[in-house]
C-alpha cells in the first residue's frame, strides 16, 4: 500500500530548523495493521499526516499504490483523500452543529453521489458501528464512545483502502477503548483495510500486527530502522 523512502520533514520554528522526520523508510502492506508508538514530539503525527496527503515531505518519496504523493497536484491529492483514505481523530472532530448522520454524509460530499445513494451508504455505515438509533443526534448529545463511533463511520462510509487513526482511543475510558478497538479490528478484518494507528497505549498497540517506534524522527522496528522490503506494497 505504502512505500516510504528517505522521507524527511523539516519545519522552521522560532528561527530554528526542526527535523520532525529525519529519514523514514518503511513499507506498509495491503491489509496490514501497523501501530506506531513513541514519545510526544518525535514525529508520529507528522508521519500520519504525510501518509494522508495532508502535508508533503521535505525530501524522499511516499508511494501510495505506486503513485508518489509528493508529486501530485493539490487536486489529485485531494481526490486521493476523498476516495481512498479515512481519518480517525483523537478528538473525533465532528462538526458540532450537524447531526451524526450529516457528519457521516460530509465524507461523501466530494464523491458526487446522488442523495439516495448517499443516505443509503450513511445508514449502512452507522449500522456498522451500531448507531442507527443515534443518527439524528448532535455530537453533544452523544457519549465519547458514541462520538468516536460516528468518527469511524465517517471514515468508513466511502469504503476507503486505508484508515489513518491518530490516538483513536486517547479520549476514552478503558471499557469504551476496548469496545472501539474491537470494533476497529472487526471492520478492518471484514473490509480488508490497511490501518495505520498512532497510539500511546501499549494495550491498543498490542492488537496490531506490527509495532513501530518513532524516535527522533525515525521509525524503528525491534530497535532498528526498517530498510524496506520486509513487506511488499
Amino acid at each position: 500500500m505504502y512505500k516510504l523512502t528517505g522521507v524527511t520533514r523539516t519545519y522552521r520554528k522560532g528561527g530554528k530548523t526542526v527535523d520532525a522526520l529525519a529519514g523514514v523508510d518503511v513499507v506498509i502492506g495491503d491489509r496490514e495493521w501497523l501501530a506506531i508508538q513513541g514519545p510526544t514530539g518525535h514525529g508520529k503525527t507528522t508521519l500520519l499526516q504525510l501518509l494522508g496527503g495532508l502535508d508533503r515531505p521535505t525530501s524522499g518519496t511516499i508511494l501510495f499504490d505506486g503513485k508518489n504523493l509528493g508529486e501530485m497536484t493539490e487536486a489529485e491529492i485531494t481526490r486521493v483523500r476523498a476516495t481512498s483514505i479515512g481519518f480517525i481523530f483523537q478528538t473525533f472532530n465532528l462538526i458540532p452543529t450537524l447531526p451524526a448522520a450529516v457528519n457521516v454524509e460530509l465524507a461523501l460530499a466530494p464523491l458526487r453521489l446522488d442523495a439516495a445513494e448517499r443516505r443509503a451508504q450513511v445508514a449502512r455505515a452507522l449500522d456498522a458501528v451500531g448507531l442507527t438509533d443515534r443518527a439524528g443526534h448532535l455530537p453533544a448529545e452523544l457519549s465519547g464512545g458514541q462520538q468516536q463511533r460516528v468518527g469511524i463511520a465517517r471514515a468508513l462510509v466511502k469504503d476507503p483502502a486505508v484508515l489513518l487513526a491518530d490516538e483513536p482511543t486517547g479520549n476514552l475510558d478503558e471499557t469504551t477503548r476496548d469496545e472501539i478497538i474491537d470494533l476497529l479490528a472487526q471492520l478492518v478484518r471484514d473490509r480488508g483495510l490497511t490501518l495505520v494507528m498512532v497510539t500511546h497505549d501499549s494495550t491498543v498497540a498490542a492488537r496490531a500486527e506490527r509495532i513501530g517506534q518513532m524516535r527522533d524522527g525515525r521509525l524503528l522496528f525491534d530497535g532498528a530502522p526498517v530498510t524496506g522490503g520486509d513487506r511488499q506494497p
Binding site: N93, I95, L98, V102
Partner: protein, 458 residues
Amino acid sequence: MLFLTYLRLELRHRLRQAVFIAAGLAVGVALVITVSAVAAGTSDAQAGVLHGLYGIGTDMTVTRPFGHGDTSPGHQVNAGEHVDWLGTNRGLFGSSAVPAIAGLPGVRSAVGVLVADQSWTPLNGHVARTPSNPYGLPLSIPVDGVDPASQRLGPLSEARVISGRDLTAADSDSDVALLDSGYARANHLRTGSVITIAHHQLRVVGIVTEPGGTVPDILIPLRVAQALSNAPGKITTVDVAVDSAADLAAVTAKVKAQLPWADVTTSATLAHEISGSLGETARLARDLGRWLAIAVLAAAFLLAALLTVTAVTRRVREFGTLKALGWPARRITGQVLGESVTIGIAGALVGTGLGYAAAAVISRIARNLTATVAAAPGHREPMGFIAGSNARTGQHFYHPIPFTGTLDSLPIHFSAPVGAGVVALAIGLGVAGGLLAGALGSWRAARLRPTVALAHAG
C-alpha cells in the same frame, strides 16, 4: 441537498450572530432605499414646480435684466381717487426677438409674453389696511399679456378653462380677459364680468385653473397688454421649446450669441432657485442622507466581514477536518460564501421592507411640503415707485411699490416613491455585503493548511 442542510444547520446554530449581521445590512439597505425614495420624491416635486413655472413644453425662457436697455414706460394715470396702471418691473425688449429666436437651429417654437402687474393705489398714497392686506400695501395683481394664438407654449398652455372659453387668435386686439379661478372666486368675478385695468374695461370670457397654481391672476391678449402698459411692441419674456433636450446647451449658446443682453434660463438653472422646505428636503436627501447611507452601509459591510472572519477563525478545525475528508478548497469556499450570502439576502429583504415602511412614513409626514420659488428667475428688484400729487390737495406723494409677486410659496404633494430599480439595487447591495464578508472569510478558510487547521484548538 447537503449544501443547504449544512448551511441551514450552521446558520441556526449561530442564529444570534447571523441576525446581528443581517440587521446591520438591513439598516444600511433601508437607508439606501429611504434616501433614494426621498431623493426621487424631491426630484419629482421639483419637476412639478418647474413644470408649473414653465408651462407645458417650455424648455427655456429668455428675459432681459431689469434696468438694462428699455425700462418700464410711463403710466396711464388719470385724475380721480386712485392710480390704476399696468406696468412691469422686468426688462423690456422688442417682440422681434421672438422670430429671431424661433429661427435658430434646434428651436421648435417660441412665443413672447409681457409679464406685468396691475397696481392700484389711492392718490394720497394711503391704502386701507384690511385683514387680507394688513400692512396697507399698494395692491398688485399679476397680469400676463399672452399671444392668443399660442395654446401649446407659454402661459396659455398651462391654463385649463373651467368656465367660458379660451382666448383665440381672433381676440388679439379685443378687450377680453381670462381670470384665474382663485382670483375670480376671491373677487366674486365670473364669465361675463367686467374688470378694469389701467382705467380700461375688459370683459371676462373665461375662468381658468392650473394644477400648479402658478397661472397669473389675469391673462389678456398681448397687444392689449402692450397698449395698456404703454409699451407697444415690447415683451418681457420669450418662452422657448427646443427640438431635443440634448440641444439645450447649444441653443442657449446660440440665443446668447444672437441676443447678447439676454438672460437664458433653463430648468437646470431654475432648479437652483427653488428653496423652502422642498429645497431643504432635497438638500438633506442629497447630502446628509447620501453620506449617512454610505457610512452605515460601509459600517455594516465591515461588521459583516469582521464577524464572518471571526466565525471562520472559530471553525478552523472544522475546515481542516473537511480538507482531511477530501473537500476541495472551492467547496469549502462555496459553503462559507453560501452562508454569508444567505445572511446578506436576509438583510436585503428585511432592509427593503424597512425602507418601504420608512418611505411610506416620510410620504405621510411630509405630504404637504412647500416650495418657495421665484415666479420668474432674475426679477427680485423693487417693482417701482408711484410719485405724483393729489389733484385736489396738491400734496405730493412718493410711494415705493414693494415687489410682491416674485416669491411664491407653492404647496407640493410630496411622496417618496420606491422604484423597482432601487429595490434591485438594495438587494444587490445586501448580496454584495454578504459576498464581501464571505469572500474574506472563505479566502481565509480556503488557504488554511490542513495540518495547521487540524492542530488548531477547537
